[in-house]
């Protein structure tokens, strides 16, 4: 007879541990892939809208296309900083990590159309086609919001669609209406949708 133990201590727990690991990682994967990005800042959107209204008022008094474009780009930069700042703040408060999971997907979908809008702005300026800037910005911003909205609450893609429709319509309106159209989109839509998001989705 040998002195071997009847039961090796490692045999039973390994099966249980594997199953527990497998189940936990399955739950985590499923939750991450299905969670909605609820950290879209409502009040941040309202602030972005107010910035756009102020920018439209300043841009309407601009002398020449280059200064008009510069005012709108500066306004856009301020609005972008406000939007990103409030997005990060709300994400932190609700424990959402923007660098992984649904937060990462949201930002990955948002960025390409915005980058395309930046490139096209340069192209339109060099080609002396500033009349097409308002439509291009609204259309591409709408595309970005609609794409990112696939990972967010239902109101976000609806907002993106409104921007896209307004952007398409902007190509048909007289160039003199550009400030009004941009004010309606970046100002009105942000304030309206931002207000609803803030009231229904925690700020």
């Amino acid at each position: 007879m040998t002195g071997q133990p009847l039961r090796t201590p490692s045999r039973e727990p390994i099966g249980l541990q594997d199953r527990a690991f497998e189940n936990l990682s399955f739950i985590r994967r499923t939750m991450e892939s299905s969670a909605s990005m609820t950290s879209v800042p409502g009040w941040g959107g309202v602030l972005m809208g107010l910035t756009a209204l102020l920018t439209a008022a300043l841009a309407s008094r601009a002398q020449g296309g280059a200064s008009w474009l510069l005012i709108w780009m500066a306004g856009g930069g301020v609005a972008f900083a406000v939007g990103m700042g409030s997005l990060i703040r709300k994400a932190r408060a609700s424990g959402v990590q923007l660098s992984r999971g649904v937060g990462r997907k949201f930002l990955s979908a948002l960025s390409p159309p915005l980058a395309a809008a930046a490139v096209l702005t340069g192209v339109l300026y060099r080609g002396d086609l500033l009349d097409a800037v308002a439509g291009t910005w609204l259309l591409l911003y709408g595309t970005a919001v609609l794409a990112a909205g696939a990972f967010s609450i239902r109101i976000v893609p609806a907002m993106g669609l409104c921007f896209m429709v307004l952007g398409a319509a902007a190509f048909l309106t007289p160039p003199a209406w550009a400030d009004a159209v941009l004010a309606l989109g970046f100002g009105g839509f942000h304030i309206g949708f931002g207000w609803v998001i803030a009231r229904r989705h925690g700020g």
Binding site: L24, F26, M31
Partner: protein, 130 residues
């Protein structure tokens, strides 16, 4: 040259007491009717998927749930009905215009059971790690 003697390992009483507690909680989970019932139900992956998805979404329609879990209509309805019968999931049927809609959400009992299950799984890993 004499081989260096390793000091005899003295078991840490606090660690072994904690391990003892975890073992008790694991055993308690399975001997408890609720824990055992949930464990049996979510052994099926689709059911565990339904519970996990609903834990991070307030409510989801039948088609949203089906698309997220990448399963068939028949499969989803069979498994959702089992979770509904156990009281872990609530189902609401209504009309949107003329289109019938079915919405699912996690009940309080379901959320509690999932939390207990997650704690149980974590305890199991900690105990087997030693």
């Amino acid at each position: 040259m004499a081989a260096e003697r390793k000091p005899k390992e003295v078991p840490d009483l606090r660690t072994s007491a904690r391990r003892e507690q975890r073992l008790e909680s694991i055993a308690g989970y399975w001997s408890d009717a609720g824990g055992a019932e949930f464990d049996r139900l979510v052994y099926e992956r689709i059911r565990l998927g339904i519970m996990s998805v609903l834990a991070v979404n307030e409510s989801l329609s039948f088609s949203e749930l089906r698309d997220l879990l990448q399963t068939s209509d028949g499969n989803l309805s069979v498994h959702a009905r089992k979770l509904e019968a156990a009281g872990y999931v609530a189902c609401r049927k209504h009309f949107e215009g003329r289109v019938p809609k079915t919405e699912f959400r996690l009940t309080g009992k379901g959320r509690q059971a999932l939390e207990r299950y997650l704690n149980h799984m974590e305890a199991l890993i900690q105990v087997t790690r030693g």
